[in-house]
Structure formats: C-alpha cells, structure tokens
C-alpha cells in the first residue's frame, strides 16, 4: 500500500474527496483539511461543528454547521451563501446546475442559480433532501414520507407516504427510482413511474454510506458484513432481486464504500480500518491493506481513479495510491 499522505483531523472525519488535485477531509469540529502536492492546509469552515456536507457539481463542497451558516468551499475560497439562524440545518442538497436546498425544522429553503430564494413549509421536520439528476425535482424526506417538489412551480408537492425517518436519499441516474436510507436498519425505495415502493431488509444496522457506479447500474451500500450492491438494470430496478454481496468480513463489517470512477470496482472500508477493492464482474479482489487505525467513515476516489482518500471515525485520514 503506497501512502501519499497521512494526517490526524482531531475529530471524526465526516467526508473526504478531491478538489483539483488535492485530497480534502472534513472534520466534525468544523475544519476542512486539505493535502496536496503543495503541502497541507487547514481551513475553518464553521464556528462550531459541521452538520451536513454535500459535493458541489463544479467541484468543492457545500456545508452547514452549528453556526447556522451554509458555506460553499472551492479550491480558492469559502463563501457564506446563507445564514439559517437559530435552528440547526438538518439536510442539504445540490442540483446539477448548482441550485441548492437546505432544511431547517419544517422549512425547506431553495436557492436558484440566479441567487433568488424561496421557502417551502412542510408538515413535518425535514430529515433529508435530494435533487433528481435533471435537477427538476426536489425530494424532501419527512417523518412520514417524501414530498416531491417540482422546481420553479407553485402548487402542492406529490406525496409518497411511508412511516419512518429517512437519513439520506438519492435518485437513480435515470431518475426513475428514489432510494432512502432509513434511521432503522433498512433501505426504502420508490419506483416513481409506477408508483410503487419497496424495502431492503436484512441489514444489521442503519445504512450510513452508499455509492453509485458511474454508469448508474449499481448502488453499493455499507452496514452489512460485506458491501451489498443493488442492481438498477432491469425495468423494475432492484425490486425482487437479491443484492450482489462483495468483500464480506463478518468480524468487522463494512463502514464505507466508494465505487471506482472508471472501472467496475468498488472500494470497501471496514470497521477495523482495512480497505479492499472488489470487482463487480468476477471473483477478483485486491486487498489494499490496513489504511486507518479505526472505523472508516469516508472513502473517495480521485477522478482519475488512481488515488483513494480515506477518513476514519477518530480523524485518522490519508490518501493512497492504487494501481
């Protein structure tokens, strides 16, 4: 295993990724650490802890913190887009065209690309947000279902009722499916054309990390002994199909997943800090090694697919070369 960099954030790593050629690691305490060929940099994004992080399509990230600020960070600068006030921001989402949405209590705020804002009160607290790939629909995850809001239109949202608390949501690449990770040990899904819904049970704990393959055919999830990958090839998507299970290590369990940006491989991180690469196409496995000291919380590939950044629960992070 060839380590390019190793650092300690001092608090839990919430997200990892790449800006330009530099690996970044977002720490729970509000500081982003960047490590690149020019060295290291620590940038304080928030006064107080970070509550939510999302990638920006143009590169960089969007974060919300205990300070009530919504901040966009790129390689060069950090700008405050909004001030949410006293309540904590519970959810963030970014559309492909750069529009953003955030949730505070029972209110959703939506900022269009021209900078204008709109408010959308909800019946229950907002727990998760996601834009569809086209950026035309905003899914609002509430306590008893999902409200689908058509962007730029007034009028009531389409409601998909389901009792439970979503923690994150994601549309499939073709926009036909909406997947929800729930607070309990299960995934919930909506086949939007139908509409019909389905559940994936059998996880020992809640799903806290997932990753789509770049072609959108598979959704890799954590939380089980191995990475469980759900197929979205068929018309009915994953409905009625068992998952592809890769890299099972029952003694430790999968805690982070990241699909390779170019090849049909998935990087799997475990509770003991180990990383394994598994092929989606056959019985091929590449053991990367013991990357972190403890439970991996974040994994992210460099866009060229030759580098992998990892972050752990303790804040022990790094980047490794993968060939």
């Amino acid at each position: 295993m060839q380590t390019l960099s190793r650092l300690d954030l001092g608090s839990a790593c919430l997200a990892a990724g790449y800006i330009a050629d530099m690996a970044y690691f977002v720490a729970a305490d509000g500081v982003m650490h960047v490590s690149g060929p020019d060295g290291r940099q620590a940038r304080r994004l928030h006064e107080g802890d970070i509550l939510a992080v999302e990638r920006l399509p143009a590169g960089g990230l969007l974060s919300a913190g205990e300070d009530g600020r919504i901040v966009a960070t790129t390689a060069q600068h950090t700008s405050c887009l909004a001030q949410a006030g006293n309540k904590w921001v519970s959810a963030l989402a970014v559309a492909a065209d750069g529009a953003i949405a955030y949730g505070v209590g029972r209110m959703v705020w939506l900022q269009e690309v021209d900078g204008s804002w709109s408010r959308h009160p909800q019946a229950r607290s907002v727990e998760a947000l996601a834009f569809d790939p086209a950026g035309r629909t905003l899914a609002i995850g509430l306590y008893d279902g999902v409200a689908l809001h058509a962007r730029g239109q007034d009028g009531p949202p389409r409601l998909l009722p389901w009792k439970g608390v979503p923690t994150r949501m994601s549309f499939s690449a073709d926009g036909r499916f909406l997947m929800l990770a729930m607070r309990g040990p299960e995934l919930h899904g909506w086949h939007l054309d139908a509409p019909r819904h389905f559940r994936m049970l059998g996880y020992p704990g809640p799903v806290t990390d997932w990753s789509w393959t770049p072609d959108g055919r598979w959704l890799a999830t954590n939380a089980a002994a191995g990475a469980a990958l759900w197929s979205f090839d068929a018309d009915a998507g994953p409905i009625g199909q068992p998952p592809l299970e890769l890299g099972a290590r029952p003694q430790h369990g999968v805690t982070a997943v990241a699909c390779h940006p170019r090849q049909p491989w998935v990087a799997i991180g475990y509770a003991d800090g180990a990383i394994v690469l598994e092929s989606l196409e056959g019985d091929r496995r590449k053991i990367i090694g013991q990357a972190g000291r403890d439970r991996l919380a974040a994994l992210a590939w460099h866009p060229d697919g030759a580098q992998l950044a990892y972050g752990s629960q303790s804040g022990d992070c790094g980047a490794i070369l993968v060939n």
Binding site: K87, W88, K163
Partner: protein, 340 residues
C-alpha cells in the same frame, strides 16, 4: 483495550409555561458549578448567553418498534443527540427542556428505546417545575400538568411567595396525591440548590437498591414535605379535590416467587402499559440473595440484580405504580399471589 466512555447524563426539565423553567435553566447555565451543559429546547426564548451550546429542536413524535415493545419517542432528539455526541468532550451533561404542553413519556422513552442513545447517554432525572399559584388550574384543565408530575423525580414548587400557607399546603397535597415519591422542594424564583436536581441518578437501578431513601417516603420520612395528614395512597383520597385522574399505588409483600412474578408483570405492562406512567420496585426473590430492582415507563420495563440483602435487613418486597385508572386492590391481590 480502552474502557467505554462514560455515558453523558441527561436531565429532563418539564413544567408548564410560566412556572419557572427558563429561570432555572439560566441559573444552571450561568452558575459556576464546574460543569458544561449542552441544552436542547423547543424554542430559544431568553435562554443562555453566547458560547452556550443550545440547540433548538422541533418536537417530532413517532412510534418506534423495538422487538415486542411499541411506543412513542422523540425522533428529533435522536438526531440531535447523534450530532451532539460526535464530539462529546465539549460538554459534561445535557439539559433537555420540554414544552409546557408536553407529555413527558415520549421523551423518557427515547432514552430506553434507541440503541444509539442508550449507548452514549443515561437519563439522570425528570425535574418538574410548577408554580404554587397556577398548579390547581393546570391540574383541573386537563393539560399535561398531571403527567409531568407523575413522571417527576424532583418537583420544584415555585413562586411560593405568591400564595398563602394554606394554598401551598393544598398544592403539596395535590402533588403528593399524584406522586408521593418525588422529592418536592419549595422555591422562589427557582432558587433550588442545584446539587438536588443535577447528577442524582434517579433512573439508576443501582441507586434504586437503596429502599430506605425511596420507598420510605410512604411513611413520612425526612424527605417528605407533607404534614402528618398525608394519606394519598392506595386509592384513598384525603386531598381536598381530585384535581387530576392520576393515582399512585404502593404494594408490599414478603418473598416473591419469580416464576409467578415475571409472567404477571409482563402481562400487566402489556395489557395496562398505556395507563402505567411509572413503576418502581425492589423484590426479595425466593432463592436469590441479591435484591432485585425493577423500574418501568409505560410498557418498557428494565430490571437487574443488585447488592445482596444485608444480614439485618428484612427481605420485604415493594412495588409502586403511578398511573391512570389503576385498580389498586386488584394489583395488591395479584402481587400477594406472587409471594413464595
């Protein structure tokens, strides 16, 4: 192997609007007693100063299923606690203030039902603030004041300067009728000695073992605030009026046969759990040298063995309930039938 980190104690502060919760909360935050608090409230109002870790959380109650127990929890608290506990080194304890209209049950149940919350926190006590002037009205108007008292481990009877001694005595009678087991203190401007409400371990089964401190309240010990006319148990009401529909039932027996008791208690909470607000007990189980302590909230029951009975201690079993529509006589007979 490192030891598991200590669980963060959580104090639930309840009581209707205007009783004095905010004053108390501000005192806790500003007085120099060496502890740092994270505070969770429904609305900021006038709480705290800069740098205090105060979180505003909108109440989201939902039903949670956990094996065979189904009950309501505060979903929003689960999310807030998850985030707060990512960096627990920032605070020593958590104060959780509920709204004046809140039924304390979902809040308390959250600390029993959610595994993540259970792993990292421990419920320390429920502190209920009422005021001597308005409590009779609150109890009569069917609001949650009765439940808030029933769930209390500590009750502060505030604004005692606004009422006559007779009014105060009547208020304390009403409180004792609902909950004879709470420690009741008279206060003005919430001026309680903070050591009486913080870090008291009211839900700690290990402390429940200390029968004298808790159950002896039935018999007018030093912890009581009543006069010698207190007789508000076993369904008999000596208080001036029935201001709330909550009663307390206190049962006593000798040695208990576990084979009879456990099926009975599980069936009881299953069938009547909705009506049982709180339950506590110390049992002398046949063939078991250790005390067996039990406590419950609605359908949730937890119990464990504790220290052995002392040589000079009578092996007496005690069980108390606070709830609505409880048949004290039937409960008493059933408990007696569990005797060895």
């Amino acid at each position: 192997m490192t030891a598991a980190p200590e669980k963060i104690p959580v104090t639930v502060l309840t009581g209707y609007l205007g009783a004095g919760k905010t004053t108390l909360l501000n005192r806790i935050l500003t007085e120099g007693h060496g502890k740092r608090y994270a505070v969770i409230v429904n609305e900021f109002g006038e709480i705290g100063i800069d740098n205090d870790l105060i979180v505003e959380s909108e109440e989201e109650i939902y039903e949670m299923n956990n094996g065979c127990i189904c009950c309501t929890v505060r979903g929003d608290l689960i999310g807030v606690l998850q985030k707060l506990l990512r960096r627990p080194g920032r605070f020593d304890a958590i104060m959780l203030e509920t709204t004046g209209l809140a039924d304390p049950a979902p809040v308390v149940q959250t600390f029993f039902m959610d595994e993540g919350v259970r792993e990292r926190t421990t419920l320390d006590s429920v502190v209920t603030v009422v005021d001597a002037l308005h409590l009779p009205l609150r109890l009569a108007d069917g609001s949650e004041a009765g439940s808030q008292l029933a769930f209390a481990d500590v009750v502060l009877v505030n604004k005692t300067d606004l009422v006559s001694p007779q009014q105060l005595a009547d208020v304390e009678h009403s409180i004792a009728h609902i909950n004879p087991y709470a420690a009741v203190y008279r206060t003005r401007q919430s001026d309680i000695d903070l050591s009486r409400i913080l870090a008291i371990g009211a839900f700690d089964l290990e402390r429940l073992d200390d029968a004298d401190r808790f159950f002896a309240r039935d018999h007018g010990d030093a912890g009581h605030v009543h006069d010698e006319h207190c007789a508000h148990r076993h369904g008999h009401d000596a208080a001036p009026q029935h201001l709330a529909d909550i009663v307390s039932v206190s049962l006593q027996a000798g040695e208990i046969d576990g084979n009879l008791f456990f099926p009975w208690i599980h069936k009881l909470v299953d069938e009547q759990g909705e009506r049982i607000l709180r339950m506590k007990g110390i049992l002398a189980l046949q063939g078991e040298p250790r005390k067996y302590v039990i406590q419950g909230v609605h359908m949730i029951v937890e119990s464990e063995h504790q220290r052995p009975w002392g040589e000079n201690q009578a092996r007496t079993s005690r069980l108390v309930f606070i709830g609505r529509g409880l048949d004290a006589a039937a409960l008493g007979r059933a408990f007696e039938h569990c005797q060895a």
